[in-house]
């Protein structure tokens, strides 16, 4: 919740009722070269490097806070290796 950025300290009464789009993150880990662009630029801070290695020896990202994903599609746009995209949750 980003309420603290504003002058209001209370949670709006309808906060949980107001819907925002939700996305599901797909990652092709083998294509990733660990550049970290998606992590850096995700406006909702959904992604983070995972601990595991792919076969090229890089840490691919994983959706740590997938509940925050709003399916904006920036990761897909910014990934140099077509390794990540999001899909609207049905």
């Amino acid at each position: 919740m980003e309420i603290n950025k504003t002058r209001f300290i209370r949670k709006p009464l309808d906060w949980d009722k107001v819907k925002v789009p939700k996305g599901i993150v797909h990652i092709i880990e083998e294509r990733c070269k660990g550049c970290g662009f998606c992590i850096e630029y995700c406006p909702k801070n959904v992604l983070e490097f995972s601990d595991k290695f792919n076969s090229k020896g890089y840490h691919p990202p994983y959706a740590k806070h997938e509940e925050n994903c709003v399916n904006c599609g920036l990761c897909e746009l910014i990934c140099p290796d077509f390794a990540i995209w999001s899909e609207a949750e049905e």
Partner: protein
């Protein structure tokens, strides 16, 4: 030989209760060239003015000295008086014995009387040398800037636009309307606020004379009456209002949500939103702070769904430069932040809300979509953030008693089962129809209890709230449980006002709101020519008072602009041709390029000269001088004001620039704040006019210290004043060093008109310092001199 008449005013006791005015008049009568010296209860009254007119005729006076209030207040009146007697308005001098004497030094009547004599003597000395000058006439156009698009700004804009004046209405939010758009109904008539406001709002953009600049902020203002240069930044909304059909499709897909300001954070809005249901301009806006990001484009969902293609991410902030003749400040108020009053638990307890929250709840309730339950037992707590020294706001916010009366009635009437209590300090129903409205609330069954609530405690299980309060009429301690507590929060000055006020050199009153020029007779004017106040920027007030003030401000602005020209004091540099040797040093120092040298003699272009006096210090031959404040006059003032100084007494001169330091000294006097009585204030257009030579002359004549008070660089009318002053001071300090005199005796302070305390501290600081270091010895004084 001059023939001077001196008049000492009692100011109906304001002066005479502290100062022995008869003694001052007798003292003045002894002075050479003074033909007649009198004291009178009210010099500014018709009787007083007639007295001057008769004496001018009877005694053939050619100079007039009035020892009364500050020239800022009645200077113009007395100038008109002598003008109507056929004299030049510039042969009248005022000795400021109210703001600079009887008010700040009310504790020391004897010393204040002595100081009043000094100030009167100083005015006589200046008057003796007054030239018979004419006013300088300047052209003025018909362009007005209005800062703030609330009800005050809207009313002023419509009045001026309808009268044929060009209006620029600047509003920082994306829609005009201000706080009134949030209200449910207005007291005491219970009109629907939005219904009476929206037609007015809609009139603004269709008025051909009004240029509406929403989502815009004033970044800079320079200049003066008739020529204010304003820089405005218009923020991008990323939506084209001409194409936006307000279909709401973008809102559905927008992934960013934040609390809705219009609903006081009770509901949520998206990053793309309609500011309020009656917004003007009626268009969606992207709030770039909460949008997922535009550079790089992170989302574009709104763009994708917008059928009319109204969304344009390629908008950028726009800089708009305009020139206007007058300015109306209508920047309004902020609601008191109730979290500052922690004992009432706002922000901590979910059932403690503010009155503005209640306005929104009532609006939604009336529309059939209640936001939340209110419960049956509701308490209003009055004076939250008003009349409360604990939070630093001593003023009454004026509207809370009545809006609580209104809200309680609306609640009671919509459900008579409700038990509604209003806990008040004093109930102030001062306006037209207010007392009747209050009676009606009582009749409806709202219970008004006199007592200040000490504490609100929440039952953590039931979330009900217990109030502790003493009923001060029956002396009973009440401890009672409520479902909902409404805090009647007060009005505070809008935080954004300060920046613009500083640019315009307007001062604040102790309550933080902007100061009007005169509390009774110039309630919408400011001491800055051509700048007016409308609405709550001047102090808390209700809607009709705000509208009345807005119309008053526009009529005051029209009064100035409709004439086509206005008079300016002829404070301009001139050249003593017999002394000029054509060296051109002044040409380099003139910030406005007003001086040219032809056939070996300098001459001043009067249209360009601003009268800063920078050239005076530059001239090695003393050939340059300043009308209204000539070298001889300032020197005569210095000498006369120091004449009464006794050995072992320390005394310092304050050269106060007219724009800021002198006004500040007046404001300090009005606030009855006292400061060192060793000070003698001399009014000058700018301290850059005080040449090193004058400073040394002052020290030679007996001054033990000098304080130069000037406007801050960014609000100064004279671009190079600060550097000129610094260079003048360093020259003097060099000479002091050589003569083993303490350099700290000369001080330079840049003031802003709001720093009353700062003025007092600086005056006392120098006064105390001089007491410590003792007066300068006569031996050292004699040696002071300057070689050019």
């Amino acid at each position: 030989m001059a023939r001077i008449g001196v008049y000492v005013c009692h100011c109906g006791g304001n002066i005479s209760e502290v100062i022995d005015v008869k003694e001052v008049a007798a003292f003045a009568g002894e002075k050479s060239d003074v033909v007649i010296a009198k004291d009178e209860t009210h010099m500014c009254s018709d009787v007083g003015q007639q007295l001057i007119l008769n004496d001018i005729k009877e005694h053939k006076l050619d100079k007039v000295v009035i020892a009364a209030c500050s020239p800022q207040f009645q200077g113009a009146t007395f100038m008109r008086t002598v003008e109507s007697a056929g004299l030049s308005p510039y042969v009248m001098e005022m000795a400021n014995i109210r703001e600079q004497c009887s008010w700040p030094h009310f504790d020391f009547p004897k010393d204040a009387t002595e100081k009043a004599k000094d100030l009167t003597d100083m005015a006589i000395a200046k008057a003796r040398l007054d030239e018979s000058l004419k006013k300088k006439m300047m052209p003025i156009g018909k362009r007005v800037l209005i800062v703030g698009g609330g009800i005050a700004g809207i009313q002023a804009a419509l009045d001026l636009g309808d009268a044929g004046f060009k209006v620029y209405l600047v509003e920082k939010d994306p829609s005009i309307g201000g706080h009134m758009t949030q209200l449910s109904r207005t007291f005491p008539t219970e009109d629907c606020a939005a219904c009476i406001l929206s037609p007015k709002m809609a009139d603004v953009p269709v008025n051909p004379n009004i240029e509406l600049l929403t989502y815009s902020e004033v970044k800079n203002i320079e200049g003066f009456l008739g020529n204010y240069e304003v820089r405005i930044e218009k923020k991008p909304t990323y939506v084209d209002p001409a194409k936006c059909t307000c279909c709401d499709d973008c809102v559905d897909v927008c992934p960013a949500k934040v609390p809705n300001e219009y609903e006081e954070g009770l509901t949520t809005r998206k990053a793309i939103y309609l500011p309020n249901p009656i917004a003007v301009p009626h268009s969606y806006v992207i709030d770039v702070e909460s949008c997922l990001g535009q550079v790089p484009l992170a989302c574009t969902k709104c763009f994708d769904v917008c059928e009319p293609g109204a969304i344009n991410y390629d908008q950028y902030a726009e800089e708009i430069n305009i020139t206007v003749d007058t300015i109306i400040m209508a920047t309004g108020f902020e609601i008191f932040d109730a979290t500052q009053k922690a004992v009432y638990g706002f922000g901590k307890y979910e059932n403690v809300i503010t009155a503005m929250d209640m306005e929104r709840l009532i609006v939604h309730g009336a529309e059939g979509s209640p936001l939340r339950a209110t419960g049956n037992r509701i308490a209003f707590i009055q004076c939250v953030g008003s009349r409360d020294e604990q939070v630093g706001n001593e003023n009454c916010s004026r509207i809370c008693c009545m809006y609580a009366t209104k809200l309680s009635q609306l609640l009671k009437r919509s459900d008579p089962k409700r038990d509604i209590y209003v806990f008040y300090t004093d109930l102030r129903a001062y306006g037209k129809g207010f007392e009747e409205y209050y009676k009606r609330a009582q009749g409806d069954g709202v219970k008004f209890i006199r007592g200040r609530v000490a504490e609100v405690i929440e039952n953590s299980k039931t979330k009900k709230l217990t109030l502790k309060v003493e009923d001060t009429l029956t002396r009973n301690i009440i401890e009672s449980e409520f479902d909902l507590v409404v805090l009647s929060v007060g009005l505070r000055p809008n935080g954004g006002t300060d920046k613009v006020a500083n640019m315009l050199r307007i001062s604040k009153s102790p309550d933080g709101f902007l100061q009007e020029a005169h509390p009774k007779f110039k309630p919408v004017d400011t001491l800055t020519d051509g700048v007016f106040l409308a609405g709550t920027v001047q102090g808390p007030k209700d809607i009709p008072d705000t509208v009345a003030q807005a119309s008053a401000a526009s009529s005051r602005a029209i009064r100035l602009m409709n004439q086509g020209e206005f008079a300016l004091d002829p404070i301009m540099a001139f050249v003593h041709e017999d002394l000029c040797d054509g060296c051109k040093l002044c040409v380099e120092h003139c910030p406005t390029d007003a001086i040219t040298v032809s056939s070996g003699i300098a001459s001043v272009n009067e249209a360009l000269c601003k009268g800063c006096g920078s050239c005076l210090a530059a001239c090695p031959k003393d050939a340059l001088d300043l009308h209204v404040y000539t070298n001889d006059q300032v020197l005569a003032e210095i000498k006369s004001v120091l004449k009464s100084k006794k050995k072992e007494q320390s005394r310092f001169l304050v050269f106060a620039d007219d724009m800021t330091a002198y006004r500040l000294s007046d404001n300090v006097g009005i606030a009855k704040m006292s400061y060192s009585i060793d000070s003698r204030i001399i009014r000058i257009p700018s301290c850059s006019r005080i040449t090193p030579k004058l400073m040394l002359e002052a020290l030679k004549a007996g001054a033990d210290g000098i304080l130069l008070g000037e406007s801050e660089e960014k609000s100064s009318p004279f671009p190079d004043a600060i550097s000129t002053i610094n260079s003048n001071i360093s020259k003097v300090k060099q000479i002091l060093r050589k003569n083993e005199i303490e350099e700290e005796r000369i001080r330079f302070v840049q003031f802003v008109t709001v720093m009353l305390g700062g003025f007092v501290n600086n005056m006392n600081g120098l006064g105390d310092y001089l007491k410590k270091v003792r007066p300068i010895s006569d031996k050292k004084r004699k040696k002071l001199g300057i070689r050019n």
